[in-house]
């Protein structure tokens, strides 16, 4: 099998992608193309009283404006029983971000301006966000389905076997409720589309990121009342799918409608924020699971009563409901199962699909209980799983017929490779290993159309082949893999095969790249096509040459007719003429019972196991994944590089799911809609991954292969959670396991007591009183006041640019005029800020190259750093690092290299404070003034201040601020009237804004050099380069070995960097005792006066930890 397996073909699109020549929808343009902008609902639930588009339609460049009135056909989505969504809201909006109207105009700015000018009158309705609340009789009703309770989209009851008897007989049972929120696919390329309607030809052409051109064509034809033949989806490169581009993403329908209305091509590209707000997500779930086992450990029964959060509309919800059953009934040998599963509507973004269709979370619940049972039974977790593992020949309670199954081999392999026995028997402190397995019934009857695949294969005159598939390769190496099946069957070089994907005219129908179906289904179709082609070639050559068809062999990139004659494919094509065949594969098994779900769901079942090793930092709550071993029964390895890619990518997504990814909502509005705040793993957060593949040679799979796309992520979350339990003894019942949650759990487990002494800051009484009143009427009142009376902040979509040649020029440009001016150097805070509505200048004045603002000067008694010196200049300056190591340490940990290369010292100090409510342009105190509330009081406050908060709780996260405060720096500022110096202690107001006036410019920072001082900067961030959760700048001064001075400045825990004066005094009072124990006691004083919010108590532990670490390092630096 020389064309599949280990050292195989590189990705077919490699050259195009690595040179930047690949064309994605983002890059695609057509002559005369218009831009589309979508107006979205600001309310989670409201009646649309009126929409007035008159003003918008008259604005410059506008070619079409559409609302729900013009789009009166529902999407087909999950079938007529579930179809509940129109291209635009009609009469009611049901989630923040729902599409209300859209504009096509000559430029994106014109389209956005016109969309903003559409006047919508809403009558706000009571919203519901939580699945339990949505089921209450008092809940507002989003949808009422026949025969179902309000807000229930689907209710499935099923029992296979007698669970009551099983539970009665059980020797042991385990029960738990597992809850998780919403994660987002986060493809690097956001959803985008170019649609063009040709009214003469009555034809719609579409280029879009979609995993299923088949369904896009079907949906677009449906909503535009066209025949499918009138709609064509074209091939284009796609920047990631993972389910986030499955079926027909909403922008596609809107672009098509706009194009028809405008008579021109229309392009829509979702911004990253829009992608988070309106791109379909994974589904949140609550599962109450019970497992009953016999004395020997056999699983007698499982019961799973669960709620799946549908969001506002039904898309892939039913598949998620089904996925819960599929794992609960079939992972390991199970006796009987009982389910009660409800799909529940809430006023949040509609759930779609994301890798695994909920399996990672389901398996987390199942595997947590397997671990708990292993413990009760006194068995090793892997040994137990091997005892209860699925076996070939099993028929499961759901009727799955297991054919090939390498689960036991997978478990044994991961056990060996992770060093399980040793690590379980002799765990290092705060380290643990955990294991989990998976079953993926991916090749099932997935759609109303069944499950079939078609692939066409063409031999061209030049002897090259063209393989055409309607499935979309979003980066999965699908095209390469399919070509390999052809190459293997015909024994020819993969490079001789070109692949066309997606094109609904030029490729035969296939249902799309989802549910890990392509390798199995389209692979089989590719083999079928190859066989058909071979048959045709044989027949023709046999006739032409008068030889026996059986004597013709397909080998060595051609055909061997006899011992002396080998023809190349070019020669063959000359003889046969061009040939084209259609390969087909159909899943030929009866579908499961549509009512009960019982039956052999899939042609084959993929199995696998993963073991994870983690290390927990008990002081910061940080969970680090040290290693993941993944062994997968893939049936047959077609392309090992591709498989590795799928495994690695899925595992790292699983790490994100387990530890940090979570869409955070405030009153129905997602607030972490950026890649800073929605934390996907970056390169420092990956882990050592070891993969192994078991080949069970599935008799029904093409060349024996099974599916591979989603198998990688299925067990990861569970393996990590089980490893965390081994390391800490804590079993989490919610995800993700953030440092905040870990610390809360550790605090409870260890009964930690930390003295906060909130009375040491008298103002806390007022703050605490206000916070107490927020949920008792104060917040809604202030919210209403704020929305009504605060002046909305100005926003700009265009601004001017000027450059300041020197300081005098800059000051001149800063003189008050009617133009709002903003200085920028790196622009890394200002430019995103303008786009978020935080700043609204008419002109930005670039001071990145202004004379007089640069330079690093190191003298005996002081260091002078120019305001516009970049962070990279700081980190790369060897002499500066020797003179002020703590400062350079701080700079090292700021953001990313790209940011540090342009961001400046003064810019870092001047950046806005951190708050995702503020950055979401909510009318909060900071945005709207005194009549407005602080959203952090009742909202998700995990990143907010624990110290010094007043009307605003956003913390200062500029790393250089506490670093420079500890160093006793002074900021040199020049204004209209002259120069002045601001000590760092006076640089920020109590609320965190700087005391630099709008007509002043920071010129330099001066830092005194103190002989025999040691200084460090310690930072805890969940991801390297992220904003700090807590940080401390420390400078200790010495005479000999005696401590004579201490400065401790805290970062990210208060609106401005605070000097920890109690701790400093305590340290100095310690005299000669600077032991670790003493330092720990001193560090605990930094939180005196703290008043944590609901979600940020973790910062108490974190700031104590970083302070103690900083003090120890500064102490030890005395004698390195």
């Amino acid at each position: 099998m020389r064309h599949i397996g280990k050292a195989t073909a590189p990705q077919k699109e490699a050259l195009a992608k690595v040179t930047g020549r690949a064309i994605y929808t983002h890059d695609y343009t057509l002559p005369g193309m218009l831009w589309g902008a979508i107006l979205r609902s600001p309310h989670p639930h409201a009646r649309i009283v009126a929409i007035d588009t008159e003003r918008a339609a008259a604005m410059p460049g506008v070619a079409a404006v559409l609302t729900g009135t013009q789009a009166d056909v529902r999407y087909l989505h999950a079938g007529p029983r579930y179809a509940d969504r129109y291209p635009f809201a009609r009469g009611i909006v049901r989630f923040v971000g729902e599409e209300v109207a859209a504009v096509a105009a000559d430029t994106l700015e014109h389209a956005q301006a016109a969309a903003a000018a559409i006047e919508v009158t809403y009558e706000v309705l009571k919203p519901v966000y939580d699945v339990h609340e949505a089921l209450a009789t008092s809940a507002p009703v989003l949808h009422q389905k026949d025969g179902l309770s309000p807000n229930v989209a689907q209710h499935t009851l099923a029992e296979w076997g007698d669970t009551q008897a099983a539970f009665a007989q059980a020797a042991h049972t385990v029960e738990g409720t597992y809850t998780h929120g919403i994660v987002a696919p986060v493809c690097m390329e956001t959803n985008a589309v170019v649609a063009t309607w040709d009214s003469a030809a009555q034809h719609m052409d579409i280029w879009a990121g979609t995993q299923s051109p088949f369904f896009v064509r079907k949906e677009i034809a449906h909503i535009l009342a066209l025949d499918r033949k009138q709609v064509r989806v074209h091939a284009i490169e796609i920047g990631g799918g993972f389910g986030g581009k499955s079926q027909a993403p909403e922008p596609i329908g809107i672009a098509a409608l706009l194009s028809r209305a405008a008579g021109a091509p229309v392009k829509i590209v979702l911004s990253r924020k829009e992608e988070f707000i309106s791109g379909k997500t994974d589904h949140g779930k609550t599962m109450t699971l019970k497992t009953a086992v016999a004395a020997d450990g056999k699983i007698l029964a499982r019961r799973n009563h669960y709620l799946v959060d549908n969001g506002a509309f039904t898309h892939m919800g039913p598949a998620y409901v089904s996925a819960v059953r599929q794992r609960t009934a079939n992972l390991y040998q199970v006796g009987a199962v009982e389910f009660d599963g409800k799909l529940v509507y809430t006023n949040k973004v509609s759930g779609g699909s994301y890798r695994g269709m909920g399996a990672p979370h389901i398996i987390w619940a199942l595997e947590t209980q397997i671990d708990e049972l292993a413990h009760v039974l006194g068995k090793d977790p892997i040994a137990y799983r091997i005892e209860i593992a699925n076996q070939p020949g099993d028929v499961t309670p759901q009727g799955f017929e297991i054919s090939t199954c390498g689960l036991v081999d997978c478990l044994q392999e991961v056990e060996r490779r992770i060093g399980w026995q040793d690590k379980r028997a002799h765990p290092k402190p705060w380290r643990g290993v955990g294991v989990a397995a998976m079953i993926n019934p991916s090749v099932g009857i997935l759609y109303a159309e069944g499950n079939f695949a078609n692939v066409s294969l063409e031999l061209r005159p030049d002897g090259r082949f063209l393989l055409a598939t309607q499935n979309a390769d979003c980066g999965t190496w699908q095209n390469t893999t399919l070509a390999q099946f052809v190459a293997q069957t015909l024994d020819l070089d993969v490079a001789a095969i070109d692949v066309l994907h997606m094109d609904t005219d030029d490729a035969p129908d296939d249902l799309g790249s989802a549910a890990s179906r392509v390798t199995f289904m389209a692979g089989a179709a590719a083999i079928d096509a190859s066989n058909l082609l071979m048959a045709q070639v044989r027949e023709q050559l046999a006739t032409q040459r008068g030889i026996a068809a059986d004597d013709i062999r397909f080998v060595d990139d051609g055909v061997r007719l006899d011992a002396n004659e080998h023809l190349t494919w070019a020669q063959i094509a000359a003889l046969t003429g061009p040939l084209k065949v259609n390969g087909h594969h159909k899943l030929d098994q009866p579908a499961p019972d549509p009512k009960t779900g019982y039956g052999n769901y899939s042609a084959t079942y993929a199995f696998g196991a993963q073991a994870a090793e983690v290390e927990v930092d008990p002081e910061t709550g940080h969970v680090k994944v040290l290693k993941v071993v993944a062994v997968q029964d893939v049936g047959r390895v077609i392309n090992e590089a591709s498989l590795d890619g799928q495994m690695h990518g899925g595992i790292v997504q699983g790490i994100g799911m387990a530890l940090s990814e979570d869409l955070v909502f405030d009153h129905g509005r997602p607030v972490n809609t950026s890649l800073i705040n929605y934390r996907v793993p970056r390169i420092f957060e990956t882990t050592e991954i070891e993969t192994g593949y078991i080949e069970t040679h599935d008799p029904r799979g093409p060349l024996g292969a099974k599916s591979s796309g989603e198998v990688s992520i299925n067990p990861t979350v569970a393996a990590i959670a089980n490893a965390v339990a081994h390391a800490t003894g804590i079993r989490f019942r919610t995800l993700p396991i953030t440092p905040h949650k870990m610390l809360a759990a550790l605090r409870r487990q260890q009964a930690r007591k930390t003295e906060l002494r909130p009375w040491m800051r008298p103002y806390n009484l007022e703050v605490a009183t206000a916070r107490h009143l927020y949920p008792r009427g104060l917040f809604p009142a202030m919210k209403k006041l704020g929305e009504t009376f605060s002046t909305p902040k100005p926003r700009v979509s265009t601004w001017d640019y000027a450059r300041a040649d020197d300081i005098a020029h800059a000051l001149q440009l800063l003189r008050p005029t009617d133009r709002r001016v903003k200085l920028i150097a790196g622009g890394t805070d200002v430019l995103p800020g303008i786009r978020q509505g935080v700043y609204a200048p008419d002109v930005v004045v670039d001071i990145s190259r202004t004379a007089g603002l640069g330079g690093i000067t190191i003298e005996e008694h002081q260091v002078r750093i120019g305001a516009a010196v970049t962070l990279a200049d700081l980190t790369d300056h060897a002499a500066l690092r020797a003179a002020l190591p703590g400062l350079c340490e701080a700079a090292d940990l700021i953001a990313t290299r790209q940011i540090r290369n342009v961001a400046t010292v003064a810019g870092d100090l001047s950046q806005e404070k951190r708050c995702w409510f503020f950055r979401s342009a909510l009318p909060c105190y900071k945005n709207g003034g005194v009549s407005c509330p602080c959203y952090a009081v009742s909202g998700d406050s995990r990143h907010h201040s624990i110290l010094g908060a007043g009307r605003c709780a956003a913390p200062c996260v500029a790393d250089l601020a506490p670093a420079l405060t500890a160093l006793d720096a002074q900021v040199l500022v020049q204004g209209q009237a002259g120069a002045r110096r601001i000590a760092m202690a006076d640089f920020y107001r109590w609320s965190g804004e700087t005391t630099v006036s709008p007509q002043e410019i920071i010129v330099a920072i001066e830092i005194p050099r103190v002989a025999s001082a040691t200084q460090v900067y310690e930072k805890y961030a969940q991801w390297r380069g992220d904003f700090a959760e807590a940080s401390a700048g420390v400078r200790l001064t010495w005479t000999g070995d005696t401590l004579t001075g201490a400065r401790i400045s805290l970062g990210a825990v208060s609106p401005l960097p605070m000097r920890a004066v109690h701790a400093e005094r305590a340290l100095l009072a310690a005299g000669a005792d600077l032991s670790d124990a003493r330092i720990e006691a001193v560090a605990r004083k930094v939180v005196y006066g703290a008043l944590p919010l609901r979600d940020n108590a973790a910062k108490v532990d974190m700031i104590i930890a970083v302070t103690a670490r900083a003090l120890r390092r500064a102490r030890d630096a005395r004698h390195p």
Binding site: L15, H26, M188, G240, R272, G645, H648, L831, P832, V902
Partner: protein, 160 residues
Amino acid sequence: MSLVPREIRLMVNGNTYPVQARGCDSLAQVLRDALNLTGTKVGCNAGECGACTVLLDDRAVCACLVPAMRAEGAQIRTIESQAEDGGTLSAIQQALIDHGAFQCGFCTPGVVMSLSALFAQCPSPTEHAIRVALQGNVCRCSGYSKIIEAANALAQRAAT
């Protein structure tokens, strides 16, 4: 408030181009829309993902955060500059292919540019330095392992 664009001259990949730009236009927009150099991708428009990484005077920067007008006078290099005119790929590009270090490819131009800045500064970087250089490049497909493998291989080769 609408602005009148003015002509600026940008030095991109060794050539100088006159382009029309407004003060609010980013370098990423101008490269893609005015110069049709669509190899530089926009993933977030906020400097958070690194898909738009280009070199500005040999330093890796997010083009979405560089005002086009700032870039006047600077040497800009994009992904389109990496392969030679004859088509020979750079060592970095070839290494990424050889190690299967990308899938959807959307982050890849940015990764290439970040690595190109790194290797120009330091021909044999440590793995830590490689990670520091790539910390601003988000990849959702690959899990990063193969990217690190490719860069390590290049670093080893340069060391020997």
